[in-house]
Each structure stands twice: as C-alpha cells, then as structure tokens.
Subunit: 226 residues, 2 copies
C-alpha cells in the first residue's frame, strides 16, 4: 500500500503560500535574511521564523550566521532544479499567480535560476554550447569536451577549481518559460558570474530578472552564436 518516497511531505512544505513565496524569492540566488524573506512573503518576522525552521528541517534550506544576521539559501542545486521543474509543470497547467505583468517578458528573456542563467538567454547559451560541441551528453551526464575546457579557460574560468568541487560541473535544468533545457551546475554558475563581473548583465533587485546591457547583449551573442 504505502510504497516509495513521501511526496506529501515536500508537497506540504511547498504548498503553503508563504513558504512558496520564500522559496521563489530564494530562487533569485542571493542568500536572504529572515527579515527580507518575511517581507517577501508578506508575513511578520515571527511566522517567517517558524516557516524557515520547517523548511530547514525538511532539507530545502540551509542557513549561515553572519553577525546578527541569518542568511538563508536553497540547500543544494537539486532543490533549485526541483523547484524550477515544479514551476514548469505549474506553468504548463496555466497556474499563474497573476495575469502576466510587465515584468513577465523580462523574466522570460533572462533570469536567475538559483545560481545560473535561465530563460531565453539561458537556452540560447545551452544550444550554442551543444552545437559547437563544447559540451556533450553522455547518457545521463552532461560533460565538458576538451574543446569546451580550453574555451572556458580562455574566458578566465578556472576549470581545475570547478573540478575540485563535489558538485557536478555541467547539469541540465528544465526551463519553465521555454520548456527546454539550459545549463546548470558549477559551470552554469561560473558563467553567470562571469557575465555579471564583466558588466554585461545585472541582477534586478527583488526579482529573478536579469537585465543585459546593450553591449552585454552584443558580447553574449558573439560568444554564443545561434
């Protein structure tokens, strides 16, 4: 009768609107304090605190104390992937929290998916990397080809440092707006950081949206031709 893993547990964790709002806020990739998350969810600090401890107990969140602040973030990449997946499903059922607003196109164009680039730009980058055989699919795993390695090192990404991490370097993540894969993993994170460090793009405050500058778009398109 009762077989397999307990989906009701995660379901109920995500099922509360306040918690869901916090989680989506954390999909922005930044670590947020309890107070920030409380305002995101539209609740008082006390209730937020109780929600946060539940999410942490459920393994969805991890926290880091810094002085008198407590920074929360998604516990692992997998949490972000799972959430993006759920969003994709919800979107396919037309479950939206609002009628598409002015922010919506910006989100679809480029946004943060926990720590990497998603949206149209994320998918374009992924497709380009595949087309140029810089990453390739081996069974279930995505791997950097030798050509890809030299390529990203030329961009200034420290490949050996990525390799030392326990996390997978390349990983696919299903995009909810495009319904296609894009690149996650430590390389996905490194690339997004690169774009921001080079001033090609900026994270918008209080949003998952990423705004590319005009020159940033040009550089991006040259780097990842379609």
């Amino acid at each position: 009768m009762k077989e397999g893993p307990d989906i009701a547990l995660i379901g109920s964790l995500i099922g509360d609107p306040a918690r869901a709002n916090m989680l989506t806020a954390l999909m922005g990739g930044r670590a947020l304090t309890a107070t920030e998350l409380a305002t995101h969810a539209g609740i008082t600090l006390q209730t937020a605190s109780s929600h946060l401890s539940k999410l942490e107990a459920g393994g969805l969140l991890s926290q880091r104390k810094q002085g008198r602040h407590r920074y929360f973030q998604l516990a692992e990449d997998e949490v972000g992937l799972m959430l993006e997946n759920l969003m994709g499903f919800a979107a396919s059922r037309g479950m939206n929290r609002h009628r598409p607003g002015p922010k919506d196109p910006a989100l679809r164009k480029a946004r943060v998916c926990y720590n990497h680039l998603a949206g149209d730009y994320g998918v374009r980058m992924y497709d380009s990397l595949i087309a140029e055989k810089q990453i390739e699919i081996n069974g279930d795993d995505l791997a950097l080809t030798p050509a890809g390695q030299t390529r990203i090192e030329a961009l200034g990404i420290d490949y050996s440092a990525l390799k030392k991490l326990r996390r997978p370097i390349c990983r696919t993540c299903l995009d909810w707006s495009e319904r296609r894969s894009h690149l996650a993993g430590s390389l996905g994170e490194a690339l997004l950081t690169l774009f921001i460090d080079r001033g090609w793009a900026k994270r918008e405050a209080n949003s998952r949206a990423i705004r590319f500058t005009a020159s940033g778009e040009k550089a991006f398109s040259e780097l990842f031709p379609q």
Copy 2:
C-alpha cells in the same frame, strides 16, 4: 514580488497525505475507481470524492465514466513525470514513508511508472537502447533512429500508429530509485505492454511492482544486452 508560476497550488494538492496516496496509487498506471482510491488512501468515499474533484480541478487527474463506475487516472504523461521527479527528490532527502520493507527491492528492480517500465530494468533497457543507437538524444528531444524503427517494428510494435498520436514517442523520465533516466513516452508504454502481453512480466496487484518470470528475464536480457 510575485513572479512566475504558482508552485504553492500544486504543492498543496500533493501535500495532503490522502491525495498523495491516491496519486501514488495511480502511478501504478491502472485507472482506478473512486472506491478503490478511497481504500488506498484509507478514507471514506465521501472525503475521497471531494479530494478527487480537487485533483481534477487542478488538472492532475482525468476521469472517465463507465456505467456506474467512475475511473480516475493521471491526466497526462507529464503528471506522472512530475510525480516521479518529486519522488526522486524526496528519496534523495531520505523522506520515506516507511523503513524499507520487503516490497522495496522488488520496486527498485522493476515497477510501473504510470505507463512505462522503471527501476533497474527500466534503466537497463534505456541504456541498452542508447548504446545500440536505437534511440538518440537530439538537444532536448529523444528520437528513434531508423535502426530503432525497424527494430521495434520487428518486435511487433506499430510505429506508424505511435507516430499518429499527439504524445511524444520517446521521452526521458528520471528514476527515483536509480537516479538515472529511463524511457517514457508512447514507446515506453508500448514496450511495457509488449512485455506483459508476451507473458514476460506481470503487474502485481495493489502495487507498482512488476514481476518478471524467469523466462521473461532471460528474454529481456537478450533483447537488451548490457
């Protein structure tokens, strides 16, 4: 602030234990009546009825009237994929509803994932099909190669009939026990049906487990060498 799809809605649908039990029961692939689902969930018929209408309104279930029975099933393949995905996540967090029981190994070996084969056997079949280049990955899509087409037609599967359906023929699904991909889609369904029709395997009653016969295992291993 409130961006993107509403994950809280699906979360709350899945978050109720009774509903989660019904959904996992329906992952067995058979269409079940309201009464059967009520007993699966351990609740009375009245409450089951209310849960079922909520699940249907949420687009997770569809129903089909047949005489005085009402058969429920997962609305689409995507629902099954999403649920299996969630189970994978739950399993990776150690969220199990029971300490692994005697049924557990059987489930991990071979089980139904809504309408196709999952577990060790599902993954083995998938790997074998990939290794022999009968299916291949093109970007996000999985496709049958010409060699694969002749192969499955030789097995007695009507390829042109599959092609006429709106559903994708090949599709990957993430296995929660193996944490690897296996084959879903209409071909995945057709293959499982084939195994059962040929008497190689049987569905267990009231369980997702699939039991292969000795000769069935042999035939399966010959068909999909490792």
